[in-house]
Symmetry: C2
Subunit: 318 residues, 2 copies
């Protein structure tokens, strides 16, 4: 099995990671966006990391699309009784993760060490790495001014149009030895079908990531991206509207253009087969297939196709 590194945001990244895990086991490393992280009720919450971790542990609530299965909401209800903010819903089981993690962060542990320890405790065979141990915060400028990402995403339900995006702290942030090590050992790098602006964007903005991706390609390691836009619409979240309001095309072609200088191959949905020629005209190899990961079998099937396509781009395995 090739060693694969996936760059991932939340749900789309988690579904692909789940398929890749079935295919690759411990050969999979997922580098997750931490620009969406926030502190609420004194707890440090890592939404994208936890979506990936819960999914890889088989503990995610697939219907709700976030958090843990068999969840209850007793703490949150009682916080509401006390007059506290409850717009960011934290389940009781989920809260244990945040308590455990926040306590270790206060003790001075690195985010990376905490993520690895948590994955061990949850029995996850793959490695999940935060993009950095430093604090990066994604913020979006709307007609209501600059908003923290979760304020826009959860509290305001992604209603305001986004005119600008910034990653506060990214200029000072550096990626970790663990992420650099994973890129150094990777035989294939896959950018998940996550929001290219606010999920993958923060990862690429962290010091050392673009350089490490460039170095990997020079060593012959292919990089490919999967479109999270199918038929002009985001599979989940506001990526389509955000691409449009930021002056990009809300299509697989628009996504491919954003990544063109960074990747060798691009995966798009059957529905967008007509976009193959302009995407290939960007100098990219393409895989056109059914990219919708509705259930475990479709995740594994799709992940298998992505890995096969990636490895075909350049013979990393003799």
């Amino acid at each position: 099995m090739p060693r694969v590194v996936e760059l991932a945001g939340g749900v789309g990244g988690a579904k692909l990671a789940d398929g890749l895990l079935a295919e690759l086991g411990a050969e999979l490393t997922v580098v997750v966006n931490s620009g969406d992280d926030l502190v609420l009720h004194g707890l440090t919450i890592w939404p994208d990391h936890d979506t990936v971790a819960y999914t890889l542990a088989g503990l995610d609530d697939s219907e709700r699309g976030w958090g843990l299965a068999n969840e209850t909401w007793t703490v949150m209800d009682r916080l509401g009784d006390l007059g506290d903010e409850t717009w960011f819903r934290l389940g009781d089981r989920d809260l244990a993760t945040h308590l455990w993690r926040s306590d270790r962060l206060r003790e001075g542990a690195r985010a990376t060490a905490i993520a690895r320890d948590l994955a061990d405790r949850m029995g996850i065979a793959a490695t999940i790495l935060p993009m950095t141990d430093d604090e990066v915060r994604t913020e979006v400028r709307t007609d209501d001014g600059w908003l923290e990402f979760q304020e826009y995403f959860v509290h305001r339900h992604q209603v305001p149009a986004v005119h600008e995006v910034r990653f506060r702290g990214a200029a000072q942030a550096v990626t970790t030895p663990e992420v650099l090590g994973a890129f150094g050992e990777a035989e294939l790098i896959v950018i998940a079908p996550s929001n290219p602006i606010v999920s993958v964007g923060p990862i690429l903005a962290v010091g050392g990531v673009r350089e490490a991706l460039g170095a990997a390609r020079r060593r012959g390691v292919p990089i490919l991206a999967v479109s999270g836009i199918v038929g002009g619409r985001a599979l989940k979240g506001p990526a389509d509207r955000m691409l449009t309001s930021l002056g990009h095309e809300a299509s697989a072609l628009g996504v491919a253009r954003l990544y063109a200088d960074l990747i060798d191959g691009f995966v798009l949905d059957d529905l967008d087969a007509g976009l193959r020629p302009p995407i290939e005209a960007l100098g990219l190899a393409t895989l056109v297939t059914d990219t919708i990961m509705t259930h475990d079998a479709s995740r594994a099937r799709f992940a298998g196709e992505v890995v096969a396509f990636g490895c075909s781009l350049r013979p990393v395995h003799p």
Copy 2:
């Protein structure tokens, strides 16, 4: 109604406070021991304060004797799944209190301000004041060495014999303007039937408390104490064994001796009527009555007797 200040530990203090609340309403101030406080999972927990607050809010679990009624344990179970310590059981509803409070403490709020805000949010008519805003930690020396109080009390189930008690931080701690104000306005001060060593002891050890109690007496404000030892046994907890192992008598007389230089009157149970002469020989007025507060009516009846007895000691109400 006279203004009454009660010095209280946990369950015994809470039951008496509940009776006093029925009698006095907003004229009641409870000064609570904070020597039992601890930090677990990054949360600051105030066991005695919360027992009093939950009881006065009518939300306590009277069967379990601590925590909130209708409690669930989802977060704690999941923390156990993650391999965290779970010997100090925190219910889901209870956790909301600790989250809310810990967040405010980290923001720099005073313990006193937090307690008052929490009482307002829980709809408690009485005032509950921590004995100090400073950190005081009760520790007990056992054959296993010095133990933090909750380590001894909860984790080791009060099994080790206690040879010595200390209140770490008490020498530097000072009481608050709010506690001094309550003593200054009090017409009667009542020491609850709590453990005299580790529940009332820390309150008396805080800088300014003994002086304020002395000043109140000089102004003609009676102070009385209620025995938590009935028939030689503690109504709850290890007070009887602790008194013995520390060289005191495990009886109402032993308790009265500990408080003798501080109080004017002493309340003991019918069962201990035979101890009335030696207690009165200490220079104390006595009330002998049924001190067991099994239900709301007995709490209110007992509190009424205590207040009437206290006010009879010196005519604070013309």
